[in-house]
Structure formats: structure tokens, C-alpha cells
Symmetry: C2
Subunit: 203 residues, 2 copies
């Protein structure tokens, strides 16, 4: 998007548009959200949204760009080692969903369903930002597929708790939930790989 | 939907519309699919779709009505008891997604994201058809929240494998996957409930 110089106040509008876009994508998904609706909620002209972002897709990409801070925290969760890792990750994950970045996660998951760009972003986010950091922190002790499976459980909990709102998962106390799920995903980190037919490695 | 008598050939058109609707909802989600597009693909007039189903929402409800057969099979999975239940359920679940009813599951999940009716249907389906059957089969041995958490893991695997297509989960052999996930969700069925606050059990 060509931008020639920044006028005073632009930065405020840009941030407000991004925050509004996150809320709209979270509520309506990628397909349902419109530039017009976002502009109206942000109290700016649609042309200003186009001036800043050029297209709905680019606006989406910018709005969904996660702040680095949360994922940067992952190595410190992995650092203390495998013991208790499941519960530390489960707690951290649920905190993120219930914190200020939560609407971004919800927006991504809502958009993923029908939009390949969103699916690609979430795939890339989980793969590069989350799995890679956890795998790197653990060294070669835990195969990547095990980390991905642990992540899949957390993602499933989030889908049922925050989007489908299935009881009793939707209303469980966050700490109780982390304390239930943590030891279960811990198996992926601490258990030996099960023997498979024909004899894959036992590790 | 008032229906006054069934003309010859109607049943074939109705089934064809339903099958086409499933494919469209699976591809485009609830919001993206249109009566017009479904009618065109099914090679019928839009008015015939309205004659049969009255509205997009009602068409969706009819198209998403799961055949009873798969869930009826659950008691026979639970019947043999808790031992090995995790793996039996994981295998059965993945088979369903990769079988002829798979597109209905995908359609529901894609639609859930942005449509409360779809979320309500999926919530009801998991709650009444799946959890209730498993919990009933197990007696009072396993709390409902544990069964729901096991289900959340399976749902998360499906989301990453079939919709987000995250590797390596997307390409794993189905049996290997069931063999990894099964023993992990088994913990929900066989482990004692952990002591909460003021004394976590070590197990």
C-alpha cells in the first residue's frame, strides 16, 4: 500500500481501524466483515480504510498480525524442561484467549472456516510461531508431531469453550480446566513413542 | 414447510438438493452458500428448493441432520468397557470424518464459525448424540466433563487435520494418528479425578 508521509492523527485512525477490524472479523468472520461496516464502526470514511490498507485481505492480514510478545514468552515456558510443561502451556494458552489478544484468536478461527487466506495464516502461526518455538526449546526429545498433537487438544478446547460454547467446558474455571488438560497433553511430551506395527523406533 | 402430496420424482430431487446443499455448506459455510447456487448445482429451479425447504436455514437443518447410524454405533464402542476406549473412539471418529458423512462434519464446522444456528446444532449434536451416549455407556464412572474434554481433543485434531491442514497432522496415517491420540484421551477415562486446589494429586 503506497503511503506518502504520515499526517498528524493518522496513526490514531489507523490503530482504531485495526482494532475495529479485529472486532468485526471476530464477530462476522472474514467473509462476513465488510470495509464499509468496519469504517462506519471506526467512524472514518471507507476511503481512508482503503488508503491505509488497500484491500480487505490486506486489512485482515494487518489486523491479525499477532503482537510478538505472547509467543516470545513460549521459550520461558519450555525452558524449565518437560516436567509440568503440559500444565504450563495449557494455562498460558487459556490466559491468551481470555486476555486482550483473545479477540484476534477468535477472529482467526471464525475466519479460517471459509477463507483460505485465514487458514494459511493460522497454519503459519501455529507452525512457525508456536510449534517451532516449543520444538526448539525441547531439543530433539519430543517429535514435532507430538507437539502438534498437544496443540490440537488445546485448539479443540478453545473451539468448544469460546466458539461452540459446549458445556461444561464453556463454564469451567480456567485454572481447573488447565489442571485437567495439562497432565493429559503432558503425555505427548513425556511418554515414549508407542511401538507401532512393523517396529518404528522406540526412542 | 407445507407439502401437499408428493409428485413422482420429487424424492429424487429432494435428495439431490440435500446432497448438493451439503457440498455447498461444506465448501462455503452457512453464510457463503446460497439457495441460488445450490439450485444451479443441483440442476433445479430455486423455487423448487424453496418449495421443499422454505428457507436457507431450514435447508441447512435438513442437510445437516446426521444419519443416526454412526452415533448409534457408540454404545458398542463403549460397551467393552473403559480399557482401550480412547483408541476405539479415536479410530471411529477419524473413520467418520473420512467416510461418506465426512462432508457433513466439515460443513458443520465451517458453518459454526459465523452462524449461531450451526453452533447450536453442533453443540446439540455433541452434547446429546455423542456425550450423552458415551456417558450413559460408561455409567457414573467417568464425569461428563472428562468425556467432553476427550471429545475436545478429537475435535481439535479434526480442525487441524481437515480444515486448517496443519502438518504433520494433515498427512499422518489415520491409524497411526488414532494410535497416538487414543492412549492420550484414555487418561480422561481411566485416571482418577485430580484433587483440586489445596493439594494436587501426584498420580
Amino acid at each position: 500500500m503506497p503511503r506518502t508521509g504520515r499526517r498528524p492523527g493518522e496513526s490514531g485512525s489507523r490503530e482504531r481501524i485495526l482494532a475495529t477490524a479485529r472486532a468485526h472479523f471476530a464477530r462476522d468472520g472474514y467473509d462476513g466483515a465488510t470495509i464499509r461496516g468496519i469504517a462506519a464502526s471506526a467512524r472514518v470514511d471507507g476511503a481512508l480504510v482503503m488508503h491505509f490498507f488497500g484491500s480487505k485481505e490486506h486489512l485482515f492480514v494487518e489486523a491479525m498480525r499477532f503482537p510478538d510478545d505472547p509467543v516470545r514468552f513460549i521459550p520461558s515456558l519450555v525452558g524449565p524442561g518437560v516436567e509440568g510443561l503440559g500444565e504450563r502451556l495449557a494455562e498460558f494458552f487459556l490466559e491468551q484467549w481470555e486476555g486482550p489478544n483473545g479477540s484476534q484468536f477468535i477472529a482467526l478461527v471464525r475466519s479460517v472456516a471459509t477463507n483460505e487466506k485465514a487458514a494459511e495464516m493460522l497454519r503459519g502461526f501455529i507452525s512457525r510461531e508456536v510449534l517451532a518455538r516449543v520444538v526448539a526449546g525441547l531439543g530433539k526429545d519430543v517429535p514435532r508431531e507430538r507437539v502438534a498433537l498437544a496443540a490440537s487438544h488445546l485448539v479443540g478446547v478453545a473451539l468448544l469453550r469460546y466458539i461452540i460454547k459446549l458445556e461444561p467446558i464453556a463454564s469451567m474455571d480456567r485454572r481447573v480446566l488447565a489442571h485437567e488438560v495439562g497432565p493429559v497433553i503432558q503425555q505427548y511430551f513425556s511418554a515414549k513413542a508407542p511401538a507401532r506395527r512393523g517396529g518404528r523406533s522406540q526412542r
